[in-house]
């Protein structure tokens, strides 16, 4: 059987690479490499050698020009020895049917690169993630209702998740009404902030921690293979990560692992 190879990109302010790599291993990936972006830019490591690209959370370039913005520029403009930009390599990666998961800063990066939702066919930015309505960075756990009709391969068999958010710029805004409608029509809104019973999406703070439109916490592209969300799946891999593990019966495996397992299984079956 084919070995599943996962790549976790780090550097320039990314900081969740260790736990994201751990999540890939728990999910069953055979090879998991944490690769510094310089290794990709210098050609020391090649994106083409992997099946599963992980873009972890952090503060790329300090989010100084807006979250993940400067890195989006780097990926588009910085050259590699192969003569193409990393962005072009990533596009090819998607085209070949491979998987990308962006969490928090990684999600912001995917959106700002235009890789999700990528509705128009051409890759341009169609949405953004901007400052929380509270004007604050916050660390708190949120209830996520998942769209069971979404094409997202990461969440295919899941209905809900309970995960932490840790961001200051997580408010999702689509470029216009049409983008929002298309997202809804194609079931590309994968995860929404919800009430604690997972009944309905909520706009009320703090259940919706940032004021995201339509309570959007995560979206995917139309293939379902490129997925990004603000909440940190890689931060809940073990029951002791749960904020109330000392008072509730929590299964030993953290809820975040399922996303990675689904990704690995998809790769095994399809690639």
């Amino acid at each position: 059987m084919q070995k599943v190879k996962a790549l976790v990109v780090t550097g320039n302010g990314t900081n969740c690479e260790m736990e994201m790599a751990h999540a890939c291993r728990l999910g069953g990936a055979d090879v998991v490499d944490i690769v510094h972006i310089y290794q990709l830019l210098s050609g020391e490591k090649k994106l083409d050698d992997y099946h599963f690209l992980n873009l972890p959370g952090g503060f790329l370039d300090g989010d100084d020009l807006g979250s993940a913005k400067a890195n989006a520029i780097r990926l588009r403009y910085a050259g590699t020895p192969q003569g193409e930009s990393l962005f072009e390599q990533i596009c090819r990666f998607v085209h070949k049917g491979k998987l990308i998961l962006g969490i928090c800063n990684g999600f912001q990066l995917l959106v700002k690169l235009g890789l999700i939702p990528a509705l128009a066919g051409s890759i341009t930015q169609e949405a953004t993630l901007t400052f929380n309505d509270s004007g604050r960075f916050e660390d708190r756990w949120v209830y996520l209702k998942l769209n069971t009709n979404s094409p997202c391969v990461f969440t295919c068999d899941l209905q809900k998740l309970y995960l932490p958010v840790r961001h200051g710029e997580g408010k999702f805004i689509p470029a216009d009404e049409q983008v929002l409608q298309t997202l809804q029509r194609h079931n590309l809104i994968v995860a929404q902030y919800s009430d604690p019973k997972y009944k309905r999406p909520v706009m009320d703070y703090p259940l919706n921690p940032n004021g995201s439109m339509e309570a959007i916490a995560g979206i995917c592209d139309q293939t379902g293979r490129v997925f990004g969300m603000m909440p940190h799946a890689e931060a809940f891999l073990h029951f002791t990560n749960h904020p109330r593990w000392t008072r509730e019966n929590i299964p030993a495996e953290g809820q975040g692992v399922a996303l990675f397992r689904n990704a690995v299984e998809y790769i095994r079956k399809n690639l």
């Binding site: 320039n12 302010g13 900081n15 949405a127």
Partner: protein, 992 residues
């Protein structure tokens, strides 16, 4: 020609930053604004074509979905006041740096050294404020004039075509770079004048030692060979002042002190550090023998202990008080990234796994007039909070533990303690990871940020009180991303064995980092002209002592230098070869070909004459207060919970990332609604191991008013109690002592110096007594001795404060616990004896008393209790555990109940107590070594067996109502209230 690009939010989108500003203006100044909007401004001092400008505006600067832009014309529209705030020339501009990098990539060329981008921000106010009000808003909230410049324009004066015009905050160099020679053959008075004038912070003995050295015949001859006269160069003078500063040499802790006790008995103490701190650790290590878990103590940037068979732990805590007083944001940010580098630069380099933050502020609601140069405590609070937020969050290090202490005297100087823990493999490439050295021939390499005038005189400045002439350049702003890149690089270089020694550039800059590491090889030759500068015009002495941030110094073996520099370049980390370590015995500094400093290493490091000081202990004359038991204890309990030192700090905690790195086990907030106050932190730094790291601290400056001996004892006990509360193991625990004192050297300015020094001696005595009793070796520490404010006749001294931090382990994190009550029907126990000990308590403070009976710690009894309780944890018998500290039993019981969302019924008559007949005293006494614990009824027998022979009693039960009911010593109900009302009191105070 320079250009301006302005970026604003599209119409209809919410401006979160503007709204936050509007809210702060309302809350802090009581001024009502109709609307605040913000515009980001980039000033580009780069030659660009119009198409390039367009590309940059659209690309890196503007978010096409949320923002629009303008080039060289203003966006501002529909406002009453326009305020633009930018940094002063030379101040670290992180946004500008990132913008420059992105711009270079976009236009596809490498920008020249002088081509820069500067970031600033516009605030557009709508609402009828007078100009004086707007100025208030700017200086109180929007700008710190020490580091920022601002422009205020009313709408009617605004040029709608040109806007503000382009002004570039370029640093203009003074041109001439030179070395000054200073003749030391002068009178004592002139020597002291020199020390003051150049901010050397050296006393007469020290100045004379310096004078003596330069008179030496041998010294003169050797200097001549290097082309130097017998006069000291400014480079040498500054270098010595940094090396000999209180901050670097801990002169007070190493002084010869004559201590007189109240009975007139005299005792000579040769170095408090050696006598009490080091001696304690040595005694403990000897007793532990084979079991000794200390690996490296007091010699490196941080202490190192063993954790498991593969890893050691590293921990360091620093203070950054003086800079935080002047610029709270920059000071605190630099504090956290600075201590990060300490831990990072320990041994062969450690990976950083957590931060801790403990702040001491004046009350944020301070309403009296402020003395000159003092910022409002609310501003200090918010600035420090934000600085640590940016420093910690952006570095990807979880902030796991902390607290905030309030006392009006912290107006004089706020205390900002920042700690960082790390993990390091026990062996790296086969060598013990804690070992480092330099050898003759090794290259001296500096990595990270460039050198500017920032942070010049930081070490000497913090060795003085805050005064009129406190230098602006002592303030600096950290750059967490440059540092994060460097950290990534360091760990990569470590795994390839590319260096022999690493240390951080902190206080004293290159002078200290190279000077100290050159002690291994016994000499160095450094060329300052090679050092990368932020801008030209720096004098050689400034390059040597600048405390510009984000820099580490390495010793790189000559055969590794190419690989080292290449890896650094690939990882976008600037690295520069500045010279070579030698065995010449000299600290030799050149600027190009010219020798600018040539100092004997022995003199530089051992030439400092010890201080001789006197300490006299006269116990203060406090009496116990006399007031009736309040009738309404419901109301009193609510008032206690609302007190600044007791209330919820969730506002701050939420804004810190406390779970990045994925190993969080016990978070700072816990309970049914994730808002209860955890006692300590537990993390799993190795994700496939169940072993945890436990971190806690104790701090209780209020007790210092009565006796610093007991203050210290209580701080140690509090740290250990908190540690025990989450299941920490007594085996493998280590302590860090961080002393913050007011000037204890008797002088005209400090007439009570002998008393303050006696307070310091007594705290050290307690440190020895209690660390040895508890077997907690101290592995690292720091002192900050001049926490006073003095302008004119106005002097404010902080209360003597020690932060005692603990690091240790828990063998299996699944045996840990939180403080919230878990289930109705569980039994409530109190462990430890409550005594009539309300001296310095929050309860007496509520009634405006200090009192006399300060809490005392019975270490022998406490230790047996802690051992038994730990056994109960190991057996899984404890369902919640909370320590009793500020506000005593009453507060602890209430917190346990409302954090669990459960009611509680308890009987004070059952509490193990001695000498207490008042309900209020029993509820709020701050006797040490006590816990509130809940136990499931099924485990009652096993739990009580475990605690056999210890002070332990069941005092009530947890209920499924929301009622909090306390019966008093006479059997009647003295408190009957709702837990959510108590919680509201506890949360309301700091709900910003």
């Amino acid at each position: 020609m320079p250009h301006r690009i302005e970026i604003g939010l599209k119409k209809g989108l919410r401006d979160a930053l503007g709204e936050k500003t509007k809210q702060r203006v309302q809350e802090e100044l009581g001024l009502t604004l109709q609307d605040v909007r913000t515009v980001d401004v980039y000033t580009l001092d780069i030659d660009l074509s119009s198409s390039e400008l367009e590309l940059l505006a659209q690309g890196p600067f503007c978010d096409p979905v949320a923002q629009n832009y303008s080039i060289d014309r203003p966006l501002a529209d529909d406002f009453d006041w326009l305020i633009e705030v930018g940094l002063r020339p030379g101040v670290t501009d992180n946004v500008g740096r990132t913008a420059r990098e992105a711009a270079g990539l976009c236009i596809g060329r490498v920008l020249r050294q002088g081509e820069k981008i500067y970031a600033s921000r516009q605030y557009l106010f709508k609402g009828g404020l007078a100009r004086t009000d707007v100025e208030q808003v700017v200086v109180r909230i929007l700008a710190n004039t020490l580091i920022q410049r601002y422009t205020i324009v009313p709408a009617e004066e605004f040029d709608r075509q040109r806007g503000l015009g382009v002004s570039v905050p370029r640093v203009t160099g003074e041109g001439h770079v030179g070395v000054e020679e200073i003749n030391l053959d002068i009178s004592d008075q002139e020597l002291m004048g020199l020390s003051r004038q150049r901010l050397l912070a050296l006393n007469l003995d020290e100045m004379q030692a310096l004078q003596g050295y330069f008179k030496g015949r041998d010294v003169i001859t050797k200097r001549e060979i290097r082309g130097l006269s017998s006069a000291v160069t400014d480079v040498e003078l500054e270098s010595i002042a940094q090396t000999w500063s209180e901050h670097c040499k801990h002169k007070i802790f190493n002084a010869i002190i004559e201590y007189t006790d109240p009975g007139g008995k005299r005792q000579v103490i040769e170095s408090l550090f050696d006598t009490y701190i080091k001696a304690s650790t040595e005694e403990i290590r000897t007793k532990l023998g084979q079991r000794d878990w200390c690996v490296s103590v007091f010699k490196d940037n941080a202490g190192v202990i063993a954790w498991d068979e593969n890893y050691n732990l590293v921990f360091k805590v620093e203070t950054h008080n003086s800079p935080s007083a002047l610029d709270p944001y920059g000071g605190a940010l630099t504090g956290i990234v600075g201590v990060n580098r300490d831990t990072l630069g320990t041994g062969k380099a450690a990976k950083l796994i957590y931060n801790t933050d403990i702040f001491c502020f004046a009350p944020p609601f301070y309403a009296k007039e402020l003395p000159p140069r003092i910022l409002h405590p609310r501003r200090i609070f918010e600035g420090v909070r934000e600085g640590v937020e940016h420093g910690g969050n952006k570095s990807g290090i979880p902030t796991v533990n902390g607290s905030i202490v309030f006392d009006e005297r912290f107006l004089g100087k706020p205390l900002v303690y920042c700690g960082t823990g790390g993990i390091i493999p026990r062996k790296i490439l086969g060598e013990p990871s804690e070992e480092k050295t330099t050898r003759p021939g090794d290259r001296i390499v500096m990595t990270g940020g460039r050198i500017g005038k920032d942070g010049i005189h930081g070490a000497t400045f913090s060795s003085e009180e805050l005064h009129e002439g406190s230098p602006v350049t002592a303030v600096q702003i950290g750059d967490p991303i440059t540092q994060k890149r460097m950290s990534d690089f360091i760990l990569a270089a470590r795994s390839r064995g590319l260096y022999r020694c690493i240390t951080d550039n902190g206080a004293g800059g290159l002078s200290s980092s190279v000077g100290e590491t050159a002690e291994f090889s016994n000499g160095c030759e450094l060329d300052l002209q090679k050092a990368p500068l932020k801008y030209s015009g720096l004098q050689p002495w400034e390059i040597l002592v600048s405390e510009a941030q984000e820099r580490m110094t390495f010793a790189v073996p000559p055969d590794k230098i190419d690989a080292f520099l290449q890896l650094a370049a690939q990882m976008a980390v600037e690295a520069t070869d500045l010279g070579v370590y030698t065995d010449s015995g000299y600290f030799h500094v050149r600027y190009g070909d010219r020798t600018v400093a040539y100092l004997d290493m022995d003199f530089l490091h051992a030439g400092l004459p010890p201080m001789r000081l006197k300490a006299t202990w006269t116990p203060p004359d406090f009496v116990e207060p006399d007031f009736a038991v309040p009738e309404d204890l419901n109301s009193i309990l609510n008032q206690m919970l609302a007190r600044l030192n007791i209330c919820s700090k969730e506002y701050v905690v939420r804004q810190y990332d406390h779970e990045v790195q994925g190993g969080s086990v016990i978070k700072p907030l816990c309970g049914l609604h994730d808002d209860g106050p955890s006692d300590a932190a537990v993390i799993r730094p190795v994700l496939d191991s169940m072993q945890g790291v436990v971190v806690s601290h104790g701090i209780c400056p209020r007790y210092s008013d009565i006796d610093t001996y007991h203050m210290m004892a209580c701080a140690i006990d509090e740290a250990l109690r908190n540690y025990i509360c989450v299941g920490g193991s007594l085996e493998g625990v280590a302590g860090l002592d961080n002393f913050c004192w007011c000037d204890p050297v008797a002088s005209e300015k400090t007439p009570d110096g002998e008393y303050k020094l006696a307070q310091l001696v007594r705290a050290n005595m307690a440190l020895f007594d209690y660390t040895t009793a508890y077997m907690i070796p101290c592995i690292s520490g720091k002192d900050s001795m001049k926490n006073d404010y003095m302008i004119g006749d106005h002097k404010i001294s902080i209360p003597p404060t020690v932060l005692f931090s603990l690091i240790g382990r828990i063998d299996d994190v699944r045996k840990s616990q939180t403080m919230d009550a878990k289930a109705a029907g569980d039994l409530v126990y109190v462990l430890g004896i409550t005594r009539n000990e309300l001296g310095g308590s929050e309860y007496f403070a509520l009634h405006d008393f200090i009192g006399a009976a300060v809490p005392k710690v019975d270490a022998a009894q406490a230790l047996t209790l802690y051992q038994s309780l730990h056994e109960a944890f190991q057996k899984g018998l404890v369902r919640s555990c909370h320590d009793c500290s500020d506000g005593g039993l009453g507060v602890s019981l209430a917190e346990t109940a409302f954090s669990g969302g459960l009611g509680m019924e308890v009987d004070l008559g059952s509490v193990p107590a001695e000498g207490l007949s008042r309900d209020d005293y029993l509820l709020f006494s701050e006797s040490q070594s006590r816990f509130v614990i809940t136990v499931s009824p099924q485990k009652k027998g096993a739990f009580e067996d475990c605690l056999q022979g210890r002070a332990c009693a069941q005092i009530g039960t947890v209920s499924d109502t929301s009622q909090f009911i306390v019966r008093g010593l006479h059997g009647s109900t003295i408190i009957n209230t709702d837990i959510y009302e108590l919680k509201e009191s506890w949360q309301r105070t700091l709900r910003f």
